[in-house]
């Protein structure tokens, strides 16, 4: 017991001494800043942990049983090359849509709450109509902020498709596209 007390008394001092001997203090400062402090400070934002140039690098930190990607077609449902047309990569456009979809989900939750219900639908189970505000807003932003309006003008309009990737009962990968935006 006495030795335990002695150890507990000396522990803070030992930890402090150990910290002083730590050879890479800047490294550990940056780890604490990006993995804990920035996520805590940005906890109420749409993207907690992100404050350029600081990030907690959340890519592939949580694998779910569903995923999705997006693509854009013209009015005849012919796929459009996304980078030359909009100046943004498919992954960037997907993240843009994802951010707007989260706002849409929050709105649906609030609407359901006002009606005394709860909204718990997963993204893959959302209908085309439910996703529509996010899809339309994404296309609108892409068209308005494009650096290549001449590429945009080549097309009568655009459609945004969300392709849900899931596993069926046999464990086979299944892809289901749905129209989520049109302008």
């Amino acid at each position: 017991m006495e030795s335990f007390n002695r150890l507990s008394l000396h522990m803070p001092k030992k930890i402090y001494q150990w910290f002083l001997c730590l050879p890479h203090k800047f490294h550990w400062f940056f780890v604490v800043l990006t993995a804990f402090l920035i996520p805590w400070l940005t906890r109420n934002t749409l993207k907690p942990g992100e404050w350029y140039p600081f990030s907690n690098f959340p890519m592939y930190s949580n694998f779910e049983k569903q995923a999705y990607y997006v693509y854009i077609t013209d009015k005849k449902d012919q796929p459009v090359a996304m980078y030359p047309t909009f100046g943004n990569w498919p992954s960037g456009i997907k993240k843009m849509y994802d951010g707007k979809l989260k706002i849409t989900v929050n709105n649906l939750k609030e609407k359901a709450k006002a009606e005394g219900k709860t909204y718990k639908t997963k993204i893959v189970n959302m209908t085309s109509e439910e996703c529509r505000p996010a899809g339309d807003a994404t296309l609108k932003q892409l068209i308005e902020t494009s650096r290549t309006p001449e590429e945009i003008k080549k097309h009568e309009g655009f459609r945004l498709y969300q392709v849900d990737i899931t596993l069926d009962k046999d464990g086979s990968i299944v892809k289901k596209p749905k129209l989520v935006g049109e302008l």
């Binding site: 001997c21 050879p23 890479h24 800047f26 490294h27 550990w28 940056f30 780890v31 990006t34 993995a35 996520p39 993207k47 942990g49 992100e50 404050w51 350029y52 140039p53 600081f54 990030s55 907690n56 690098f57 959340p58 890519m59 592939y60 930190s61 949580n62 694998f63 779910e64 049983k65 569903q66 995923a67 999705y68 990607y69 693509y71 854009i72 090359a81 996304m82 980078y83 030359p84 100046g87 943004n88 498919p90 992954s91 960037g92 456009i93 997907k94 993240k95 843009m96 849509y97 994802d98 951010g99 707007k100 994404t138 932003q141 902020t145 650096r147 596993l167 086979s172 990968i173 892809k175």
Partner: protein, 314 residues
């Protein structure tokens, strides 16, 4: 972790000698030519991210410093870029030759933050250039710290020169990004990251299909691998799960040149496998690891000198 030099090496048991060889802390003191090569590597990578104006011109969803009202759309201004880009090239060249990094690194650092913040203010968060900005920030902070220490008559850590400290902090920040990423994996998945790795297969499908819609050019078909990971979850845990300890222990790559070489090569191999499977480039990560950790020229010089000594002996 400091090397205990009071005991002669031969008196130590084999396991301790091995441990010391692998994980003994030996500050990396670089020769002038090595530092020019390393800073040149950083400057070259930074130049790849700064040599054009941003494709974006507005901040529809302000991110980072833009949420404080700062407007970074100037980095997308084509007219301004005619003056800004040559200035950045001159600054990066002066940094590479070691001229006043506290001043010469400032314009590239601000431009790099502006590029990243404007890109991330479009509604989605990208991480492609984050490591480059972090390295520029670390090198700049090291130069400021060196200046402060010189003014207050303090010694720099491990008796480094200001230039050596700049490279040391650059290395430290690179490994911090990997350790932070590993911690986030553990937190976000609530400890279930390894058991969920078979579902990584869905991310492979997502990345492969997305890559096609860039330019409508079919990407390498890795769907067979995705299905294999679903069908053989233990294989998925072994293949993908190896990334977690590699990232979590990345700080060991800061201890000495041998561990830097090991972790540098391992992380490059890890990124290369992700490039093959997911069609994600990681060019800046790989380039910085090559310049600052693998440091092939130094190893080539060491090998040359050893050969010379052997020839002289024989």
């Amino acid at each position: 972790m400091n090397t205990d030099s009071s005991l002669p090496q031969s008196n130590l048991p084999l396991w301790r000698r091995c441990l010391r060889f692998c994980l003994g802390f030996e500050p990396m003191y670089h020769a002038w030519w090595e530092m020019i090569l390393m800073r040149g590597g950083i400057a070259f990578v930074a130049w790849q991210t700064l040599r054009g104006h941003s494709p974006f011109m507005s901040q529809p969803t302000p991110h980072g410093f833009a949420t404080w009202g700062l407007d970074f759309s100037w980095i997308g201004n084509e007219a301004l870029s005619h003056y800004l880009i040559p200035l950045l090239a001159i600054c990066l060249f002066l940094y590479a030759i070691g001229l006043v990094p506290s001043l010469t690194l400032l314009p590239p650092l601000i431009a790099s933050i502006a590029h990243g913040t404007l890109g991330n203010s479009q509604g989605g968060i990208g991480h492609t250039t984050q490591i480059v900005t972090a390295v520029l920030l670390a090198a700049w902070l090291a130069s400021i710290w060196s200046f402060f220490c010189a003014k207050t008559h303090r010694r720099l850590p491990h008796s480094y020169t200001p230039a050596q400290l700049g490279l040391d902090w650059s290395r430290q920040v690179i490994m911090a990004t990997y350790v932070a990423s590993a911690i986030t994996k553990c937190i976000e998945s609530e400890g279930g990251w390894l058991s969920d790795t078979p579902y990584f297969a869905l991310q492979i499908v997502k990345a492969t299909e997305s890559a096609y819609y860039n330019y409508l050019i079919p990407a390498d078909n890795t769907v067979w691998l995705a299905q294999a990971l679903i069908d053989h979850p233990t294989l998925a845990k072994l293949l993908i799960g190896a990334a977690l300890p590699l990232e979590m222990l990345a700080f060991l790559g800061l201890l000495n040149r041998r561990s830097a070489l090991f972790f540098g090569l391992s992380l490059i191999a890890f990124h290369s496998s992700v490039t093959e499977v997911m069609n994600l480039g990681f060019v800046y990560h790989k380039s910085l690891l090559l310049a600052l950790f693998v440091n092939p020229v130094w190893w080539a010089v060491q090998a040359g000198e050893k050969l010379k000594r052997l020839k002289m002996k024989s």
